[in-house]
C-alpha cells in the first residue's frame, strides 16, 4: 500500500469495472419530469414570495437566480449525464451498482448481508412503467438503490434476489 501514484504501466493496473446493465431509457424522461416539477414548485413558490413580500426583494432576487441556474442544469444536463453513468448488476454473490454524475459512487453489497429487498414505484414511475429496487443491509450506510428499471425487469430482479438470499445463510451483521 506504500505504492505512490507513480506512472505505472497503464495496462497492468487494477481498475474499477463498471456493472453490466444500464437503466431503462425512460429513466431520462423520469428524472427530467421530476426535476421540472421540483423547479416549478420551488421557483414558483419563491417567485410568489418575492412578488408579495417586498422586504425579501434585496436578497431573494440573487438567490432565485442561482436556484434557477441549478434547476436548469438539473433539467437539461443531469438526467442524461446520470443515464450515461448509472449501471447495475446482480450475481449470486453480490449486488453491484454505480450511480451519480458529478460525484460517482460504486456500491457492492454481498448477498449474504442483505436484510431486505423492496420495489418502489412512485406515481411518475407508474405512469412511465418504471420501478426502483432497493436493497438494505444492517448498516444504513450500505444500501443499493437501482432507479429507473422497467417494471418487469425490476420484478424479475427482486424475485431472483429473494431466491438467492433465501439460499444464503448468515445473520446479516
Amino acid at each position: 500500500m506504500t505504492r505512490q501514484t507513480q506512472p505505472a504501466d497503464d495496462d497492468t493496473r487494477v481498475r474499477i469495472r463498471a456493472p453490466r446493465n444500464r437503466p431503462d431509457r425512460r429513466f431520462v424522461v423520469w428524472r427530467t419530469l421530476q426535476a421540472a416539477i421540483g423547479a416549478v414548485v420551488v421557483l414558483g413558490g419563491l417567485g410568489v414570495l418575492l412578488g408579495v413580500v417586498e422586504r425579501t426583494r434585496p436578497w431573494l432576487g440573487p438567490v432565485l437566480v442561482v436556484l434557477a441556474v441549478v434547476y436548469l442544469v438539473n433539467i437539461t444536463v443531469m438526467p442524461t449525464w446520470r443515464y450515461r453513468v448509472h449501471r447495475w448488476e446482480t450475481t449470486d454473490e453480490a449486488v453491484y451498482a454505480l450511480e451519480g454524475w458529478l460525484t460517482k459512487t460504486w456500491v457492492v453489497v454481498p448477498v449474504s448481508r442483505i436484510q431486505s429487498i423492496d420495489m418502489r414505484t412512485g406515481p411518475l414511475e407508474q405512469a412511465l412503467g418504471l420501478a426502483t429496487v432497493r436493497v438494505t443491509t444492517a448498516s444504513s450506510e450500505a444500501g443499493v438503490t437501482i432507479e429507473g428499471l422497467d417494471v418487469h425487469v425490476a420484478e424479475e430482479t427482486v424475485r431472483r434476489l429473494k431466491d438467492v438470499t433465501a439460499a444464503t445463510q448468515g445473520d446479516a451483521t
Binding site: T2, V14, I16, P110, E141
Partner: protein, 516 residues
C-alpha cells in the same frame, strides 16, 4: 403466551420509598406555603408538586408492571389505561445495565435496563431487589456468571450465595492517575456554573439573593481589569478541576472491565460507580473492532480513549459515547489505551498499532484550495448580504472574519491531512481521520457488510477516491478518505477480496492481488 412461566413483580420496597417521597415532597411544599405565599416560593411548590406526582406515578407503575423470563424471550407487561406487552427475544439482548441512585440504595434496590440496541425493544425495570437483579443477570447474561462481589458495598446483603466466585479476567481496573487525566478539561471552568445556579434557585425563596451578593462583590472588584479576570479564572479553574475529579471518581469508583465466560460464549462486563453502579454485559460475539479517539487538546499529553465497536448499539448510543457504557473506557495514557484495546480483542491482535499508509499529497493541496476558496466565498456572500442591508446592525462589518480565521482553518486542514492513513492488518482494516479529534478505527474485515467507492469531481481530477466500509457496528460507516486511486483499490482488494471481484477488473487476467 401458552407456557406457564410465572410472572414476577417489581420490588414492594419501592412502595415504601414512594411513601417517603410523598411525605418529603408534601413537607417541602408545606414549608414553602408556611414561609409566605409570594412568587418566590413558587419553585419550591413546583418541586413539591413534581415530587408528589412522581411518587404517585411510581405507585401506579408498581401496581401494573410485571415481567417474566421464558426459555427464549423476556416479556414485560405494564400499564392499566394503555396496556403494553413487550416481548424481547433473549438472543437480542445486548446489554444488562444495573444502576442505583442513593435512594434506591437505601432500600437495597437496583434499576435494571435491558438493552437490545433498539429503543423499541429495550425496557427498564425500576426497581428490583439486588437478588432479583443478580438472578436476571445470570439468566440473561452471556457468559456464565456476572461479576459480583468485587467491590460490592457491605450493605448489599442480598447477594445470592456463590456469585462472588466468578470475576472473570480483569482487563482494566481504575487507576488513580486516570482521575487526573479525566479531570482537566477546558470545560472545567464552567463546572461551578450549574451548582451556583441551583444554589441561587434554592436560596431565593429564603430571601437570600445570590445575584445581589454577587453584585455587591463585583462593585468592590473591578472586573474590567485583566488581573481581576485572571484571578477569577485562577479561582474557578482549580475548583472546577476538583469538581470534575470528584465527579469522575464517584462515577468510576471500582471501575473494572473484565471478560467472563469462555469463548465462544464470553462477554465483556463493565462495572463502575459509587452512587449509581452499573454493570453492563456485552457479548463478545458482537464485537467488531476498536476505535481510538484522541482529541486535539489531549494529543500533546498523549492521552486517548479506547472504544469497542459492537453491533446492536444504536447510532445515537454511539454518539452519546456508547451510553450503555459497556465499551467506553475513561481517558488514559495512549500506551495504556492501546494495551487495553489489545486485551479487549479476543484474537490477541494489535491492529491499532499497525503502520499506516499515507495518502497522496494531492489530498492536502486539494483540501487547502478548498479551505481557501470556501473562506473567500463565505466572505463574499457576507459582504454582498451586508451591502444589500439584510444583515442586522453592526454584524455587516464581520465579513472579513472567515479570511481572518484562515490561519486556523489551514492549520486544522494540515492536521487533518496528516491524520489520514489506512492499512490492512491481519483480520482488520484500519483507517485514521480527523483534525480536531483524531480517530483511529480497526474494523474486522469480515464485519464489512457493504463497500463503496466514491469519487467527487475534484477527486477525479486529483486522482483520488474515498473508500467507505459499511458495517453494523459503531457509527455504521468508516472511511478511508482521499486515498490515491491505486492505493484505494488495493485497499479494497486487500480488505475484502470477495467484494473486489465484482468491483475490480484486472487486465492481467488474475484476481486482484491481496497485497500491492
Amino acid at each position: 403466551m401458552s407456557d406457564g412461566t410465572a410472572w414476577r413483580r417489581l420490588s414492594v420496597r419501592i412502595v415504601y420509598l414512594d411513601v417517603l417521597r410523598l411525605a418529603a415532597s408534601t413537607a417541602v411544599g408545606g414549608l414553602g406555603l408556611a414561609l409566605d405565599g409570594s412568587a418566590a416560593v413558587r419553585p419550591l411548590l413546583i418541586g413539591a408538586a413534581i415530587g408528589v406526582l412522581g411518587a404517585l406515578a411510581d405507585l401506579a407503575r408498581w401496581l401494573t408492571t410485571s415481567y417474566r423470563v421464558t426459555e427464549d424471550r423476556v416479556e414485560l407487561r405494564s400499564g392499566r389505561l394503555v396496556r403494553r406487552h413487550r416481548t424481547v427475544p433473549r438472543d437480542r439482548i445486548r446489554t444488562l445495565d444495573s444502576s442505583a441512585t442513593v435512594r434506591h440504595r437505601l432500600f437495597g434496590l437496583r434499576v435494571l435496563h435491558v438493552g437490545s440496541g433498539d429503543p423499541e425493544s429495550s425496557f427498564t425495570l425500576d426497581a428490583l431487589p439486588v437478588a432479583a437483579v443478580t438472578r436476571l443477570q445470570q439468566e440473561l447474561g452471556a457468559g456464565s456468571r456476572p461479576v459480583t462481589g468485587a467491590g460490592q458495598e457491605p450493605d448489599d446483603v442480598q447477594d445470592v450465595p456463590g456469585t462472588a466466585a466468578a470475576t472473570g479476567t480483569v482487563i482494566a481496573r481504575l487507576r488513580p492517575s486516570w482521575v487526573a487525566y479525566n479531570a482537566v478539561t477546558p470545560g472545567a471552568v464552567l463546572v461551578l456554573v450549574g451548582p451556583l445556579l441551583a444554589a441561587y434557585g434554592f436560596l431565593r425563596p429564603f430571601g437570600v439573593d445570590l445575584l445581589d451578593v454577587g453584585r455587591g462583590l463585583l462593585d468592590r472588584v473591578p472586573l474590567d481589569r485583566p488581573w481581576a479576570l485572571a484571578a477569577c479564572v485562577a479561582v474557578a479553574l482549580p475548583l472546577g478541576v476538583a469538581g470534575q475529579a470528584a465527579r469522575f471518581a464517584v462515577q468510576h469508583r471500582d471501575f473494572t472491565l473484565s471478560r467472563v465466560g469462555t469463548p465462544p460464549k464470553s462477554a465483556l462486563v463493565t462495572r463502575r460507580g459509587l452512587l449509581s453502579t452499573r454493570t453492563v454485559h456485552q457479548d463478545d460475539a458482537r464485537l467488531r473492532g476498536l476505535a481510538l479517539t484522541e482529541p486535539l487538546a489531549w494529543r500533546w499529553l498523549r492521552l486517548a480513549r479506547t472504544t469497542a465497536l459492537a453491533t446492536g448499539l444504536s447510532v445515537a448510543d454511539v454518539m452519546a459515547g456508547g451510553s450503555p457504557a459497556s465499551s467506553v473506557l475513561p481517558r488514559m495514557r495512549r500506551e495504556e489505551a492501546l494495551a487495553v484495546g489489545a486485551r479487549i480483542l479476543t484474537d490477541g491482535a494489535r491492529p491499532l498499532e499497525a503502520p499506516l499508509a499515507r495518502h497522496p499529497r494531492s489530498a492536502l493541496t486539494g483540501r487547502l484550495l478548498g479551505a481557501v476558496a470556501g473562506s473567500v466565498v463565505v466572505a463574499v456572500v457576507l459582504l454582498a448580504l451586508g451591502r444589500a442591508g439584510v444583515l442586522p446592525g453592526r454584524s455587516s462589518g464581520w465579513w472579513p472574519a472567515p479570511l481572518l480565521l484562515l490561519p486556523v482553518t489551514v492549520a486544522l486542514t494540515v492536521a487533518r491531512y496528516r491524520a489520514l492513513g489506512h492499512a490492512v492488518a491481519g483480520a482488520y482494516v484500519v483507517v485514521r481521520d480527523g483534525g480536531g479529534t483524531r480517530v483511529t478505527v480497526a474494523l474486522q474485515r469480515r464485519a464489512v457488510v457493504g463497500l463503496s467507492v466514491r469519487q467527487t469531481l475534484l477527486q477525479r481530477l486529483g486522482g483520488r477516491l474515498t473508500v467507505r466500509f459499511a458495517t453494523a457496528a459503531g457509527s455504521r460507516v468508516y472511511l478511508a478518505r482521499d486515498t490515491g486511486v491505486d492505493q484505494g483499490l488495493a485497499l479494497v482488494a486487500a480488505a475484502r477480496p470477495d467484494l473486489a471481484v465484482p468491483l475490480l477488473s484486472d487486465p492481467s487476467g488474475a484476481r486482484p492481488s491481496s497485497s500491492p
